[in-house]
Amino acid sequence: MTRTETELEITHDDRSSHDVILEVRDVDVTFDMERGTSRVLDGVRFDVHRDEMLGIVGESGSGKSMFASALLNAVVDPGQTSGEIIYHPPDGEPVDVLSLSESQLERFRWEEISMVFQGAMSSFNPTMKIREHFEETIRAHGEDIEERMEHGWQLLADLYLDPERVFDSYPHELSGGMKQRTLIALSLILEPKVLVMDEPTAALDLLMQRSIMSLLGNLQEEYDLTIVFITHDLPLVAGLADRLAVMYAFEFVEYGPSEQVIRDAAHPYTRALLKSVPSVDASLEDMHPIEGESPDPVDAPSGCSYHPRCPLATVECTQADPDYHEFSEERGAACFHWEQSGDEIEYALGVDPDEFPESTAAFESEEETVVSLDDVDVHFEQTGLIDELFGKESVVRAVNDVSIELRENEVVALVGESGCGKTTLGKTVIGLQEPTAGSVSYRGQDVWEAKAGSGDYEFDDIRRALQIVHQDPGSSLNSSRTVRASLSAPLKRWRPDLGPSDRETVIYNLLKRVGMKPPEDYAARFPHQLSGGEKQRVVLVRALLMSPDLILADEAVSALDVSLRVEMMDLMLDLQEMFDTSYLFISHDFSNARYLTEKSDGRIGIMYLGNLVEIGPAQEIIHDPKHPYTKVLRWATPPLDPDEAKEANATDPPIREIDIPDPTDPPSGCPFQTRCPDAREVCTREVPELQDTEGAARVACFREDDDHEYWASEPVESDTVSLKTESKAD
């Protein structure tokens, strides 16, 4: 079904004054399912402007990934795409992407529009070197290998990678962040005009995400790219995107220049979303979850699809689907009552840091210590076949000389990039991982001695007192057991005095308490009948039923949708009071850690390469970070407020290298020495210990000691990473 010139001409006419590169007209994507037709993109109309960075924000299941695939006419089988997507090349005739033939598509993709997927980790053939991936792509499009490889080399270098090394690596030899950047280079190898990125950074650490985002900004300028960036993480794109478009229930509900959208969102959903997102700068009282659930693509609500959750909904909303109200040429929102939304749903962006009270310098708690770690090391031997061939033994120092005390009713968050040892440290705290040196004690009793049978506490009791909630709740629930059965088991074991009906009452009460109503119904469900958030709640309840003293929550909210995180964390805090327990919360996300700890007057510990580099009261860590690494993490956590975001984007990251050093070959001296912008010669020789500072935090950096020889030492050569370079001349 090729369309005629005239038909295309007609569509041109409603082009706005902007230079449009992609026109999306009434695009539907449907899947035939047993239950009926699943409409995952519902009559979407949208224009992408040339050379812009467009941020598309939506929760999982909003249809945003489908939109990305549709732009390349690459919706997976058996999905059906209809409507038209007109691509306007810089010169030449516009084409309708959806009516291209298979062979035309093969040329069109990657040469005109290319795409970076969610799973960079698995986007490369594991048995092929990176070089081959580049070469085969160039060959498949019949381009000049040498010239293109040269370009690839340049791209990799622009992305702060060592091209030589990357080309000669197998995918598994690169870290996640390197793979992601390599994939970006691969997608730009043929100089496409549009780059579509579908949650490209979701699996990465914040610092890497931020660095990649900034690098994208550079690439965009340098290569005249149009970037469509799709994410669930509003703060991530807020500062960088020129325009934002918000997706809800398989269509765009609002679009506009990002600053305007963030400052004064018109659609009730956008406003609710802004309110629900945990960010470092918003005040805690203002964060609220969105009530209700995202709609089902098979059976979307009639009228405005947001009406079941919308506080402004009227009868009109349930009957008719609102059209875009266009405030200006470039701003629109699909809502009947947009005038009221501002008054009804209030949200506040950044809060002035000055408002925060200086944290109490002497942060001493009278609570009893539950678990304490003394000079704990956990080293793993990790020697593979090839390493052995070359006689190279590698030891990963997952935890290095860490001492920490966890008190009753305390919330402590450990924050760090992946591979920093935070999970291992967490497991050591709850007695799941035996330290290779140092001691772990539970209420004064050495845990591993108790295991050996000598001690006041039974090992079993200690195990019960120290519980864990995993990142992936699905895997920790037995799929063939109902919620009731999963929850009764710990009760039977630890509360043998309860009869079956008492147990039932306890379980129902708890389920009600965590918002799973009606509890009778939920108790009879199997794990696969629960949503991710619900599963996580069941796991949390199960852990709490053991009446533990401490719960290790390992990335417990990271897998949840942004709007559900606040809710889950509130629940955790709520239950903490009820059950008198402490949490050790592990996260790579500063915003989550901040939400949980600041609300409960807890502490944040920062880990880097197995070392605890800073620990202190949450407020102090967030608002007055002292260790250079904490400052970097703080930089990487984007503020929502457009002004601050702009400011943050304008500053280079306070860091000298993007990638973490190989954990099997850590730097000498201070672990952060290779990336620290303040490193001096002495840092390469000596290891700083945690020491008291003016505040309540303890920091492992020589800079905290005014009399240290650091101040007389020579600074080490090399510049900080510059993500805001003007386009380089080569």
């Binding site: 390349l72 690459a74 997976v76 093969e106 040329r107 993709r109 990657w110 290319s114 795409m115 997927f117 969610q118 799973g119 698995s122 986007s123 490369f124 053939n125 594991p126 048995t127 092929m128 085969e136 792509t137 498949a140 499009h141 197998y170 598994h172 030899e173 996640g176 691969l186 793993f380 990790q382 020697t383 593979g384 076949l385 090839i386 390493d387 052995e388 061939l389 006689g391 590698s394 990963v396 997952a398 992946s418 591979g419 920093c420 040892g421 935070k422 999970t423 291992t424 197995g610 954990p663 099997t664």
Partner: protein, 340 residues
């Protein structure tokens, strides 16, 4: 390097244990084979009119079984091992009156010939069929092929062999029912002789093909389907990589890899199956001699072939382990997981 040494030491330990067990069995065997053998020789000699000099008898027994039955067991054991390791002396066949090593050595190429062809054929078919099934997942072809593969997988190879023999050999007379080649022909590198060898090998190879076939096709199918759903395949398609390249470089390579170890260990299975196969087809390879040795209570020969099978199995496993790292780049470089 430690890894290699460790594996080789492992294999050596296994080999020594097997030898030891063989030795122990040999001594514990009901009626003590060496005693029986001695009595037999004695009877033979006396029947021949001579008197049996005990020393001569001892020497004869020792020559056959590789150790002197009158010495303490540990000396016997040491001698036995020493003979095997230093002189490749596995003793002398009681029935053929030839060194066991020579018998097995001449029979070996024939067994290898049958097994390797059977195996190669089996795995090629597996891979092609499995891949085809995966590409046509859910089609009628896929369904039938799945049933067929499951069926063949559950039919024991010897049943297949007997059916082949009965049908193609006796019923239709298409193929010879036994032997390695037509004994009337002049041996050597001439066309007719070679043709005869192939002709005689058809049925045994077909049967040994069944041993290698079946499960492999189903695992290949499963692997391919998994890989067809991988992200990197989708990305490759979007990048415009040709479907031939995707099929070979992406799907086939990654799907075959997990089968590789299985294939190497399969070599051992195929060899052990040769005992029954070669017996059924009266094909004088190692397997046939083994069966024969069981029947004739030719203990030295039996011990020899027992060791032979052990060695083949161990070598198969060792090769598989050592080469896997070369075939699959992911193995051996210590994949650092992200969750410390």
């Amino acid at each position: 390097m430690r890894y290699f040494v460790k594996r080789v030491v492992h294999a050596a330990v296994t080999l020594v244990s097997v030898t030891t067990i063989t030795f122990a069995l040999f001594r514990l065997m009901p009626g003590n084979p060496s005693q029986a053998m001695r009595a037999q020789f004695e009877a033979d000699m006396e029947a021949g009119g001579g008197t049996a000099d005990p020393e001569v008898l001892d020497a004869m027994v020792e020559q056959h079984i590789g150790f002197n039955p009158d010495q303490p067991w540990y000396v016997q054991y040491a001698e036995y091992l020493q003979d095997i390791i230093l002189y490749q002396d596995f003793g002398q066949s009681y029935f053929y009156n030839e060194p066991v090593f020579d018998i097995l050595f001449t029979a070996m190429p024939w067994s290898i010939f049958i097994s390797v062809y059977g195996l190669a054929l089996g795995y090629t078919t597996n891979i092609l069929l499995g891949a085809a099934m995966a590409y046509k997942e859910g089609s009628r072809f896929d369904n039938y092929a799945t049933v067929l593969a499951t069926f063949l997988n559950s039919v024991p190879y010897y049943v297949g062999a007997i059916l082949f023999l009965a049908f193609f050999g006796y019923e239709l007379g298409l193929f010879p029912t036994g032997g390695r080649y037509n004994t009337d022909l002049q041996t050597g590198l001439n066309v007719r002789f070679m043709a005869s060898i192939s002709y005689h090998a058809v049925l045994p190879v077909m049967s040994s093909f069944i041993v290698g076939f079946g499960g492999g096709a189903l695992s290949m199918r499963g692997n391919s389907i998994r890989i067809l759903g991988e992200d990197y395949l989708r990305v490759a398609r979007l990048r415009g990589i040709s479907s031939t390249r995707i099929a070979t470089r992406y799907v086939a390579r990654n799907a075959i890899l997990p089968l590789y170890t299985q294939m190497m260990i399969g070599i051992a299975t195929v060899f052990s199956s040769s005992v029954l196969l070669e017996f059924i087809f009266t094909y004088p390879g190692v397997g046939w001699y083994t069966y024969d040795a069981v029947m004739r209570r030719d203990y030295p020969l039996l011990m020899g072939s027992f060791l032979f099978f052990t060695i083949v199995t161990l070598i198969g496993i060792l090769i598989a382990e050592f080469t896997y790292g070369l075939v699959d780049p992911r193995i051996g470089s210590g994949d650092h997981s992200e969750s410390y």
